[in-house]
């Protein structure tokens, strides 16, 4: 598919967003390795991290090709600085505790299922293929985070309190998820990315239903102060994560094992 330069740039940006969301969240989840409350959960979080990092690798590899400047997926993952990362602020938030990890994951999984389902009908075959592959995985990720949310929310007083606390803390990072900027507008206009209007309503609808069942309360909508991650504005946590994730590749460029 032959694309104009401005559309190519927008597609590159969009692919970075898709890849970075998954790379950063995957890295966060990998921090649980060996620390999860039970072994099944250790394996589950590790598996989800692996899926997400695999998805990131596909999206970033494709992004590098679209950019056409000879960069590789590894260059994009390890040699970009914080402000060049386009992941949502939600996914860079620290694990804190199991409740925060699950709430963050659930918010992301519901969103990811919406976006990926939408992208399966994208006319760029590679992107549609990556979306349909990722969607198969995203579906069971969502099943996992939702089941946990139900158990934690509708569990003991303490588990409910911790989960509600996580919801309250993370809520302010959810509004920017659905901001549609010039990049996405252009891709939608050119028919590359299918229409995304109404996503926030659909997302909220799913969250609402699960929260009712999980005995969790939706926070007041007055905490929306965080935004701009798609343009490289991040919370302080991303820099620390990148330092750890990138140190090996930057200390020993081209290292092989």
């Amino acid at each position: 598919m032959k694309l104009d330069n401005n559309v190519k740039n927008a597609l590159f940006e969009f692919l970075l967003r898709m890849g970075d969301d998954r790379l950063i969240l995957g890295h966060r989840l990998s921090e649980w390795c060996g620390h999860a409350p039970v072994i099944e959960e250790d394996i589950a979080l590790g598996n989800i991290a692996l899926d997400l990092i695999g998805q990131a690798s596909a999206f970033l590899n494709f992004a590098a090709g679209v950019e056409g400047k000879g960069r590789t997926e590894d260059d994009l993952a390890y040699f970009r600085n914080e402000t060049e990362f386009k992941n949502l602020q939600l996914v860079e938030q620290p694990n804190v505790d199991f409740a925060h990890t699950i709430v963050r994951q659930y918010f992301f999984d519901v969103y990811s299922n919406l976006v990926l389902t939408n992208l399966t009908s994208c006319p760029v075959n590679e992107l549609a293929g990556m979306a349909s592959k990722s969607l198969k995985e995203s579906k069971y990720h969502l099943r996992h985070s939702k089941q946990w949310l139900l158990r934690l929310g509708d569990g003991t007083d303490l588990s409910n309190e911790k989960t509600q606390n996580a919801v309250n803390n993370l809520w302010r990072f959810t509004k920017e998820i659905f901001d549609i900027d010039e990049t996405e507008k252009l891709l939608i206009e050119k028919g590359i990315v299918p229409e995304m209007s109404g996503f926030r309503e659909k997302w909220l609808d799913s969250i609402n239903k699960t929260f009712m069942e999980a005995k969790l309360k939706l926070p007041e909508d007055n905490l929306d102060f965080s935004a701009g991650s798609r343009n490289g504005f991040h919370t302080e946590h991303l820099g620390h994560l990148l330092a750890e994730m990138q140190i090996l590749a930057r200390s020993y460029p081209g290292a092989k094992w």
Binding site: E40, I43, A44, G46, N47, I48, A49, L50, D51, L52, I53, G54, Q55, S57, A58, F62, N125, E126, G129, M130, S132, K133, S134, K136, E137, K139, Y140, R143, H144, Q147
Partner: protein, 163 residues
Amino acid sequence: MMYIAENEIWKLLETVFDPEIPVLNIVEMGIVREVNLNNNACEIKITPTYSGCPAMNTIENEIIKVLSKAGIKSVKVEKIFTETWTTDWIGQDARNKLRKYGIAPPEGESASDFYDNILTKNITCPYCKSTNTELTSEFGSTSCKSLHFCKDCHQPFEHFKCI
């Protein structure tokens, strides 16, 4: 000059096994999608089973090793995403091999909602064929398997997820 036909390439590829499921070769798994032979240069298109499957690099190296050994000068392995891997590509023979090996083969079809409802399904135990089983976790020793427990023969077992 030595000439190798395409069907011989496919046969050679059948000697490459998935390191995580050592009873199945990569052709049976549906990982190999295309073989393009041009003179003595060969291009193999493969698609990953799961996005993060850590076996892909090993498989790629193994393909190059096997084909080079057979005398093919130039081997290129390309990872493609235009086709989405599904357990529907695993044939009946391969499913029987899985069961014999102690892994319950994928039940259902990927297009149906079978796997969406996995939480309420009873996967057949590969050891005693009982359906009196329960899901322990959707995540197992590899991305492609879930953990189950048979309440009749008291044996934990893995199921090849139907996706």
